[in-house]
Symmetry: C2
Amino acid sequence: MKTLKLGLLGFGNAGRAFAKILEDKKQEIMDSFGYNIIVTGITTGSRGNLYNADGIDLKKAWCELEGQGHFNKAGSDYSQMTSMELVENGEYDVIVEMTPLDIFTGQPATDHLRKAMGRGKHAVTANKGPIAWYYNDLKKLADKMDVQFYYETTVMDGTPIFNLKDETLKFCKVTEINGILNTTTNYVLEELAKGKAYDAVIAEGKKIGFVEADPSMDIEGWDAAAKVTALLNVLMEAGITPRDVDRTGIENITIEDIEKANEQGKIIKLLCKGTLENGQVVASVKPTLVEQGSLMSVIDGTSSVVQITTDLMGKLTIIEHDPELVQTGYGIFSDVLRIVRNLV
Amino acid sequence: MKTLKLGLLGFGNAGRAFAKILEDKKQEIMDSFGYNIIVTGITTGSRGNLYNADGIDLKKAWCELEGQGHFNKAGSDYSQMTSMELVENGEYDVIVEMTPLDIFTGQPATDHLRKAMGRGKHAVTANKGPIAWYYNDLKKLADKMDVQFYYETTVMDGTPIFNLKDETLKFCKVTEINGILNTTTNYVLEELAKGKAYDAVIAEGKKIGFVEADPSMDIEGWDAAAKVTALLNVLMEAGITPRDVDRTGIENITIEDIEKANEQGKIIKLLCKGTLENGQVVASVKPTLVEQGSLMSVIDGTSSVVQITTDLMGKLTIIEHDPELVQTGYGIFSDVLRIVRNLV
């Protein structure tokens, strides 16, 4: 039995969902691949850190966080190690980057990944920032260091988009990508269409968790821009950043716009798009009229959709329906599993 | 450079589409994987057979068939070898089974696969018969002989359904499958809804190639039953045959039924379904009322859809839009490529 050691940067909802799946599937992974996966380090922003080169008790870790809001300072694995200290000096084979996103810089996530891969460690990130801002650099570093680097969760949680391209659409050339990638705006547009006032929709959305405390990154289209950039960088080798996306948010959409669209048998969706123009990838995020009864019009609630057009496989559509936290956890898990499968 | 030898059983539209992709990507595969893929045998029902252990000129082969309707009898590779003789005595590493489907027996495709894998050869089938009728037996044989066995094309052409489960939804338990899997019935129901007479729709469909010469296998739901059986056998280990599917075709759907549905804001689709009941997989194919504006209602023309519900990844939907022959060819190609990747 071999051992694979993970270092976890961040232990929020997604991180804990991942830890629970990992714990649940531990025996199955040992039986299937002969690898015992252990976690040697967990760092958080303000809830303390854990480190034990022989393996942390994961169940105890998530129980402490969920029970008392922070790791137990008197615990034997409690550590002063910061995220970057873990990355630079910790003992691990795979770094799992799940720190909070800074959508305009991709930091500190990108530096964590650089340092870890620079040390010859495999890397998984659930953070879209590094893929939107620095994908080419990170991919080159992974190739140079001969380490594995996966990021499935960055777009549509565990829905296999990047994996699909690597595993089954290899040798196809992607010529166009379309999608609805931001669920907050999808939800807000739907609620506005019911005749509700903008402020009321935002307030209600915050209450049920569909809208963030600061909704501007979603409403202004930055989140969608980062996601479509990540898709285009990986699937179409675009080499762009979110600033290159022709971006319009939904902040200026009025109930009158929605009613006018409705009169024409249409509805407004925040569509993401990437196409090839003269050999260059051109990307946009903008409110777009779509026919009622068309495929894009039926993507509702917190569901997302990606359409991938390729030379050999035509157009494929993949829809994720109303994901929950477990899906994000599964996405990270599936990336770790890819690493294990490739090591066997 | 290593060589991988293929034996092709059948060389119809899908077979030739596959051969063209293979020829086109030959160099890229050599560069990526260090394998030179050659075809040593091609058998057809009535268009002659080719055999050359050093490799057939593929381009010449498809040009002969497309130009004169059969292989050139005076050609140096022309052979009297039948499909079963190629399977039993030919020199090849991978058998690619593309003979015409017998939907009630899965033969002779199943015997071809059994004999080939019994000889320790890898196998790819584009024929849904073997997967619908004998999946468990064939899978066991593949495991016993330690050979690779793939069948992506049997449902939704090259759309990665089976691969998705193997590669990215591994460790998820599939709890339900829904889909629209037969495009002929989807087309016929749509045309009937326009007020056209049944016979006129069938005649027109035959003319444009959407309806087979004998449409009964489609209309009576047998094709859909075979496909959902294949999905359920592989993804839910159902161990059933098409005869176990609670099957109703669209032969008794009248324009009155369609109009009545329309008055209720609904349309009729031939839905395929597999669920777990008391630990058993229960399968059905039947005309079903779906809400206008729902996802299933917007799957039109020759598009297909599969929805997979799992414990850890919730519900995923995959849509193939108006496939052409190249998609079927790509499905076979992607299966051959999986074999190569696993050999490297």
